[in-house]
């Protein structure tokens, strides 16, 4: 399975809504449509993609403020992704067992916790990427990919 973090999931959701939205959203302003297409290519099929309830909550908190037709489009994309991907619940107490909690917080500590069992993780959080690599986890680093084109 492939595990995806919040900021990378935001790129995926925005891209599925309309790839042109990626440049215009504050959270994804450094990215281009190319980053979305490369991300989709790396994932392959959505049934390989796994995330955490925490990641969906963070993503929705950051994106669920669309108006009118965009709002319904957002709903359709989230519905599609939730139905085609899988979710793994981990208790918050497991995040607290990890030293990385002090630096990364609950969600990213849980990603590290199960990242070791995944084929790779997808992140656009440079600090999470640093910790994952230090822990021997294979990473698809969206920020690094984007910066390689500057």
């Amino acid at each position: 399975m492939i595990l995806i973090d919040t900021n990378a999931l935001i790129i995926l959701v925005l891209g599925l809504m309309d790839p042109r939205q990626i440049k215009n959203h504050k959270r994804t302003s450094i990215y281009e449509e190319k980053d979305f297409y490369e991300l989709v290519n790396a994932i392959g099929t959505f049934d390989r993609l796994m995330t955490l309830p925490n990641v969906w909550t963070e993503t929705d908190n950051l994106l669920n403020n669309f108006k009118n037709s965009h709002k319904y489009n957002y709903y359709l994309v989230v519905k599609k992704l939730v139905s085609e991907t899988s979710e793994k619940y981990l208790s918050t107490s497991r995040a607290l067992l990890n030293d990385s909690f002090l630096e990364l917080g609950i969600t990213d500590s849980l990603i590290l916790e199960i990242g070791e069992d995944c084929e790779f993780i997808i992140t656009s959080d440079s600090k999470l990427s640093d910790y994952a690599i230090a822990n021997g986890i294979k990473v698809y680093d969206v920020v690094k990919m984007r910066n390689s084109r500057f």
Partner: protein
């Protein structure tokens, strides 16, 4: 827009090159936004430095830590501010 982002990236990188070993620090552009009211680019960059202040609370400390900085760059591509930045904010 894309050419502007590339230009801002270069200006920020040049500014930081006076402070860090830019080629060996995994320097990255993290966020960029043009503030229309102030007519400035707000840019967040990150880079790695040796971790010389490891917390006694941590069993596993990484040998490096990622630092985030915020820059303001005006339309003339001059850096007008360099600030600490908390990536959680």
């Amino acid at each position: 827009m894309e050419s502007s982002i590339k230009e801002v990236y270069k200006v920020a990188k040049e500014e930081l090159s006076h402070l860090i070993d830019i080629e060996n620090s995994d320097y990255r552009l993290e966020q960029i936004e043009f503030n229309k009211q102030e007519q400035v680019w707000l840019v967040v960059i990150s880079y790695l430095i040796p971790n010389n202040n490891k917390s006694p609370l941590l069993i596993q400390s990484l040998p490096f830590e990622r630092i985030y900085k915020k820059l303001k760059i005006n339309e003339a591509m001059e850096v007008t501010g360099l600030y600490m930045f908390n990536e959680a904010g």
